[in-house]
C-alpha cells in the first residue's frame, strides 16, 4: 500500500499592513480545514503580525491605494478618494477603523485571534532570523504562537515539498 503524501502549503508574510495580514491567515485557515498542512514564515514587515506590541495596531494607510473608494464607506456614489486627502492627519486611522469594521462584518476575527486559531489547528509559524536581528527583537517580543526563529535557508529546507505563496 502506498501512502499518499499530505499536501503542504507555505506562506511567506512580508507585509505589515492590516489588509496584507489577512490573505495568508484566511487561505491558511482554509487549507487547514481542508486537511492541508500549513507553514508560515514571517519576514520583514510581516514580522509585525507576530510582534506582541504591533499585532493589535496594524494599519491600513489610504495613500497609494487605488482600491480605497467612497463606495466601500457606504456612500451612494462610488469615487476614488483623492491621494492628497489620504495624507491628512487621521486618515490612516479612519481607513483602518473602516477596514476593521468590514472584516468583523464577514466574521473574520482580529489578526491575533486568527493566528491562535491557525496555531491550534496545527499550522507551524516561524520568524525570519535576519529580520529579528535587524529589528533588534528578542524571542520574548514575539507571540507565543511562534514555533521558532529560523534562517531563510532553514525555511527553504522545511518547505521542500510545499507549495509556496509569497505575500
Amino acid at each position: 500500500m502506498t501512502e499518499e503524501k499530505p499536501r503542504k502549503m507555505a506562506f511567506i508574510c512580508s507585509k505589515g499592513n492590516l489588509d496584507m495580514a489577512y490573505p495568508a491567515l484566511i487561505m491558511g485557515w482554509a487549507a487547514l480545514t481542508e486537511g492541508v498542512d500549513v507553514i508560515i514564515f514571517f519576514t520583514f514587515w510581516g514580522l509585525d503580525m507576530i510582534n506582541k506590541k504591533r499585532v493589535d495596531h496594524l494599519k491600513l494607510p489610504p495613500v497609494g491605494n487605488a482600491s480605497m473608494r467612497t463606495g466601500m464607506m457606504g456612500f451612494p456614489i462610488d469615487f476614488g478618494i483623492p491621494q492628497w486627502m489620504g495624507v491628512l492627519p487621521g486618515m490612516t486611522e479612519i481607513a483602518t477603523a473602516l477596514m476593521k469594521k468590514k472584516i468583523a462584518e464577514v466574521e473574520a476575527p482580529p489578526v491575533k485571534e486568527m493566528l491562535e486559531m491557525l496555531h491550534d489547528a496545527g499550522a507551524e509559524m516561524y520568524a525570519c532570523k535576519m529580520t529579528v536581528d535587524m529589528m533588534g527583537l528578542k524571542e520574548e517580543d514575539l507571540l507565543d504562537v511562534v514555533d521558532g526563529i529560523v534562517t531563510a535557508g532553514q525555511f527553504i529546507e522545511m518547505t521542500e515539498d510545499a507549495q509556496i505563496i509569497f505575500i
Binding site: W29, D120, A121
Partner: protein, 104 residues
C-alpha cells in the same frame, strides 16, 4: 448524483460522498460515514454533529469551522483532534449536510 446504500438505507449522495438530502440522515448513517473516514464517534463527536445539524436546520446552510468552534463551545484544537485532517469536510459529511461555503 448517485444512490448508495449506507447503513442499510438507500440514499442519494453527490460526487464527493455528501448526502444530497439532509433529511435522509440517521444516526446509523453518521456512524457508517464516520467509519468510512476512520473516526470512532464519542459523545464529544456527537455534540459537534448535533450542533451542525441544528445549525443547518436553523440557518439553511452548514456552519464553518469557526462557527462550530464558537457555537458548540469546542476549542479549535479539540475540533482538529476529533476530526483530524480537514474537519470542515468531515463533520459536514458525517452530519449529512452540505460542505460549508464560508471561508472562516
Amino acid at each position: 448524483m448517485a444512490t448508495k446504500v449506507i447503513a442499510n438505507k438507500e440514499v442519494e449522495v453527490n460526487d464527493e460522498g455528501y448526502l444530497v438530502n439532509p433529511d435522509d440522515w440517521t444516526e446509523d448513517i453518521a456512524r457508517a460515514m464516520a467509519e468510512e473516514l476512520g473516526i470512532e464517534l464519542t459523545d464529544r463527536h456527537w455534540e459537534v454533529i448535533r450542533f451542525v445539524r441544528n445549525y443547518y436546520k436553523e440557518h439553511g446552510k452548514s456552519p464553518t469551522m469557526h462557527q462550530i468552534s464558537k457555537g458548540a463551545g469546542v476549542p479549535t484544537k479539540e475540533l482538529f483532534k476529533l476530526f483530524p485532517k480537514g474537519p470542515a469536510k468531515k463533520v459536514a459529511r458525517i452530519a449529512g449536510v452540505p460542505k460549508p461555503e464560508g471561508c472562516i
